[in-house]
Symmetry: C2
């Protein structure tokens, strides 16, 4: 199904409340477990979403709208959150993410983007030309990608505890 | 990390609000899309969760507590929801699931299960002996499994729209 700006922003608007419902107030056994060395917990993923909100989505959209292909995006640091949020609580991360996301969506809605603007090209440091529409679709899919990751990481806490049912639970084998 | 009854029930308690935040009020473009023939949309998954709530988790737990291994569980119909919920709205499904989940958790909390009770064996029609603890762990992982599925199915709506970013979004290749 083709890109719909309003439905994309609607989905992006849902993520803070969805993460709250799933994570806020959980014990560390749920939100601090990961999939082994160099993998992320739910806590790490929320930190990553904060960092992306600050340095990726709206900043890149602004570069596209203001400078088009003339200025490549800054490369995104996928690991910044691992140091930056040491000592934070999960509640603090969820609060910060919700504030940033709300501000991001206010900015994008304020632009009242036209179809022609969605076609404007920017320059990705690895891929080359990308449209503003692709960036916004990616923002939504990136949320869903990390929601699926959080569900998988949490599920693996009970990878052994489910016993023979493991065979029916594909999330445990990914 | 080992099984914790209270944290398991806490997670199960979160699922209705989490699905509400993600799905209630979305356009059909988000909740009716699937991954192709014989695959499920978010709508279908919520129907499946309702059917499991009615016929799987608490009914099987009750069989274990009352009859142990003497009576095998009824086989679970994984496709019942596809006919049963035709004509329902997503809002009706979410309401029904929330009511059933609340009632399920009241029942289980009312049992005040001991560690010895969690060790009681029942009989799965395919696997043979399983403990009540394994059933309850599976209930939680089953929620997370289907949450990951919903996120994946919704993400694929924009499988083409993300353009070259597809390479970074593993949820699109599963």
């Amino acid at each position: 199904m083709s890109f719909d700006l309003s439905e994309t922003l609607d989905l992006l608007d849902r993520t803070p409340a969805m993460l709250d419902a799933l994570l806020r107030g959980t014990g560390a056994s749920w939100h601090a477990c990961n999939e082994g060395p160099d993998t992320w917990s739910a806590f790490d993923v929320v930190g990553h979403l904060i960092h992306a909100e600050e340095t990726d989505w709206v900043p890149r959209a602004r570069i596209i709208l203001e400078e088009g292909e003339a200025r490549p995006f800054e490369p995104f640091d996928r690991f910044a959150q691992l140091d930056r949020f040491k000592g934070w609580t999960l509640g603090q991360l969820l609060d910060r993410f919700a504030e940033l996301r709300q501000a991001s969506l206010e900015t994008v809605r304020g632009w009242s983007l036209t179809g022609a603007q969605l076609d404007i090209l920017g320059r990705h440091p690895a891929f080359g030309p990308v449209t503003l529409r692709q960036l916004l679709a990616t923002w939504a899919v990136h949320d869903l990608n990390h929601l699926a990751q959080i569900a998988r990481v949490m599920a693996k806490r009970y990878g052994d505890e489910v016993g023979p049912w493991r065979a029916y639970l594909s999330v445990l084998s990914r």
